[in-house]
Subunit: 318 residues, 4 copies
Amino acid sequence: MPGTPPTRFVYLGPEGTFAEQALRTVPAAERGSRTPARSVGEALEAVRAGDADAALVPLENSIGGAVGVTLDELAEGEPLVITREVILPVEFVLAARTGTPLPSIGSIAAHPQASTQCRGWLRAHLPDAVVVDVLSNGAAAAGAANGEYDAAICAPIGAARHRLAVLADKIADHPDAVTRFALLSRPGPPPPPTGDDVTSLAVYIAHDRVGALLSVLMELAVRGVNLTRIESRPTGEALGRYVFFLDCTGHVADVRLGEALQGLHRVCAGVRFLGSYPRHRWGGLTGERPVAAPAGLSDTDYTDAAAWLTRLRVGEQS
Amino acid sequence: MPGTPPTRFVYLGPEGTFAEQALRTVPAAERGSRTPARSVGEALEAVRAGDADAALVPLENSIGGAVGVTLDELAEGEPLVITREVILPVEFVLAARTGTPLPSIGSIAAHPQASTQCRGWLRAHLPDAVVVDVLSNGAAAAGAANGEYDAAICAPIGAARHRLAVLADKIADHPDAVTRFALLSRPGPPPPPTGDDVTSLAVYIAHDRVGALLSVLMELAVRGVNLTRIESRPTGEALGRYVFFLDCTGHVADVRLGEALQGLHRVCAGVRFLGSYPRHRWGGLTGERPVAAPAGLSDTDYTDAAAWLTRLRVGEQS
Amino acid sequence: MPGTPPTRFVYLGPEGTFAEQALRTVPAAERGSRTPARSVGEALEAVRAGDADAALVPLENSIGGAVGVTLDELAEGEPLVITREVILPVEFVLAARTGTPLPSIGSIAAHPQASTQCRGWLRAHLPDAVVVDVLSNGAAAAGAANGEYDAAICAPIGAARHRLAVLADKIADHPDAVTRFALLSRPGPPPPPTGDDVTSLAVYIAHDRVGALLSVLMELAVRGVNLTRIESRPTGEALGRYVFFLDCTGHVADVRLGEALQGLHRVCAGVRFLGSYPRHRWGGLTGERPVAAPAGLSDTDYTDAAAWLTRLRVGEQS
Amino acid sequence: MPGTPPTRFVYLGPEGTFAEQALRTVPAAERGSRTPARSVGEALEAVRAGDADAALVPLENSIGGAVGVTLDELAEGEPLVITREVILPVEFVLAARTGTPLPSIGSIAAHPQASTQCRGWLRAHLPDAVVVDVLSNGAAAAGAANGEYDAAICAPIGAARHRLAVLADKIADHPDAVTRFALLSRPGPPPPPTGDDVTSLAVYIAHDRVGALLSVLMELAVRGVNLTRIESRPTGEALGRYVFFLDCTGHVADVRLGEALQGLHRVCAGVRFLGSYPRHRWGGLTGERPVAAPAGLSDTDYTDAAAWLTRLRVGEQS
């Protein structure tokens, strides 16, 4: 029911991974139910079928990962919209049962992506330990807790959930690595504008991609709408069609973004609105901070221009 | 008084020239007073001072001429707006007193621009006649009428006014040559849209002219607003500033042109609105015919996009 | 040694996965040594260190996957170049030991991405079977071969390597799903142009991303260079910097692409050349076929324009 | 004969006007013959027919004038090229026979454009004098010299030629008004680059003028070629075709302008090269001074990019 806050949450499982950690930063989820799903597809299906109110899934991973699946799910099937983004630093820890000294560690359980990201640290501190691949960060923590392995590379939440001691934290080679998660719901009124919002779109383009993409960017540029992300993906459904995922600054309720959206609707083969939601402000990359509007494209410029046009139409000159 | 139809007209004189002929195609002018002015500047000053309601002056001449003066007058000083355009074929005639046989003509009075435009005809038909420069087409006709010269190159209206016989018509080398005149008034509500209108603008641009002009064209292109004329002129008032005179398709009351105008107002150093008025449909160049809106930029596309945005803003997906 | 064909190949392991299958389509690899690596990073390090001549790793996965890791590796560290692309349909099979009837299957080993992609088939044909997550398609096949599980979802090569019978093939829900692999080497002369080549670039952009991206696309568009892929990623190294991965039509040796590359070098914060290589022609999406050059941008147009300029410079007019 | 300096000059007459004054700033013309022509068309025909080596005609007049004629002559017929531009301040003087006191002046001969430009001065200093229209500034001076009128508004050269005393100089209302003249010859090798040159072009565009003009500007903008003038004119010869006159910074021998010219040749319906020639440096508008190349578009940037491409093509990475 539109307007009812979500209470039943689903997330990309298993328990004890970054997705659960991200979901717990959402106050309503902290109070509601939180169910892990085996895959992004299963999580979104639960929302589409009405079995859950919202799903938290990874959207973008600064090291790599499941982005493609989520994007494809968003571009096809019943529409879903993003109502919130959560950006989480990828902070891997080395965790072991209490009382395990670092030098004694001979085997380490880790998801292959996790051990890859901590290669430098492992080489420097535990060059002789054997790294054993497991299926998830949560499974690694579980394996260390039950004594199958001496230690685990996992998320802080995985260590906490399995009552492991953290022997070393922030062991990833890229200290700035983050994962961006999206909270997805069935379509409904977007959250109100905050003055620092993101709007996500899936834009379909046919044939001549440079020319068509130039048109898309011109629609944004002339309204001073900035891009924070662009990604192209082929679409299987129609030959030669491409879909571009765009994250733009602004909210669907804004005049300028509204004007740009109408322009995209006119010139593109298709546009799917994926939600307007507050930008997640975190202590990380400056690049994520709002960029000042280019000259002539501030909100004041918009108001002035609209007032000028109103005067012109009744025959007054400024 | 706004809304009152103009009754006192001034035009670029002297009497018996193309400007008078153009003015007489305006029904209100046919009923009102028509006063010749010595120069474009004098004509416009009469309107600015309230001594006349409207001035008819040349704006564009497909062979050359006084365009620059009119443009400069429009770009500076008290604002004036174009309420009507009149496009007149430049149809020169060879006129003489009744009973003058063509072979007997030894001297021809003509404005230098007129004789230049009829060079081919003169060479073919009167190679031995002496052409004498006079100050205007009207003065040429007057000189032939009073016997000072054997004949005159002049406008049909000049021959008629001085009761001269037309010995040959359409003697200009360029049969498609036209002059475009503008009827100028003090600012007031523009004439209502007709579905085939022109909007004239003076757009000020600073410094980097290619980049700035690209921005201007992008504002027009993304709204499907076409250009029928562009002309740059330096401005004396500020160093390095340029003014561009643009004629665009559409009316200030149109959604798309309104959006484009606001965009120009935001990105340009200055914009002066010079009027929205019906395109003069005449039997000439196809290029002046309205061009179909590019794909995605028809009025239906605009309506559809606006409806889509309205749905998005309340949380519905198409 | 430049010019020496590669003989020592490394690929993203383990054995029996799509990467090995892709590598075996490369004739030189079929004759040379083929060593699996634990991760994309390890594979590329082997090439950078000189321990291998070329590495085959996934670049783009139409369903999702390790793309990000490969891109980040290409954008940072010692330069590597793509010398070949291999596009492989993702054809999952259900494989079991010879003599296993389909209805008897109670447990299926599968990598989570694989079982996700075959969800529809599993629901229709084996709704009651238990799917057990394993770490790779190769591990799934191995598990079915040693009797740990009744069957495996794996690549055809995995079934063959473990002497499993294929009970069903092409069981993926998206029949068009493909993975695109890249063969990477240390920098050297690119393969000769074939007339249907791809050039990959990493382009660094600072600050105002719409405007900067517009500039990038204009450099390509004015030379008729088409884009077949674009993906943005944040860069950790410098605040607010973005890197765009572009796949363009054409070869670094082409006049038009050379001109475009110089333009990008001039206007971007940085450009890393990632290789020119033949497009992999496969029976799939029409969108991958070469697009005809836009009007005025054919090779003949280039030759004509160059000849015209040569004439102008010596004072001749066409 | 190409390479032979011109000796026979023709200019837009009559004698004693600004065109003669402009021609006398050309050293070769000071030594050669200088013949007045009755019109721009006649002057250019003399060059085309080989009766003169070069013609000096007005190209652009900051107040208005014969620009159109010159442009049309350049766009059509046998090609001619500009080899030099001369920018002359329009400095009107009030001249009379020696011994004429200012207050005694009752009649003033002036070309209508001249008296229009001096309206303010006349109103302030000689409000009661009668202004009589004559056909040229030269005719005005002649009329004052022979006693037909008390004084003349004319060019300084007209006063000097008729031995008139200058009663007041710089009497024009716009002190910055200039006329830009072009010296035109039959096609031949252009003057060598000076580092501050102008290239003039006539560019033909069909149909959709905003889109086509955007393409033209993109060709210039991506090479950092700036525009100092743009003017559109309809062409009579083909329906719906437009010609744009462009003045660009740079020389046909420059790499960047050469690249841009080739681009225009490819995308336009037609391009006519109208010459590369040194910019006339005068003490006037700052806007005429060379503009620094935008970021990434300096000559060094061009050299660097070319060197980078050369390295890429042989397999080296910077």
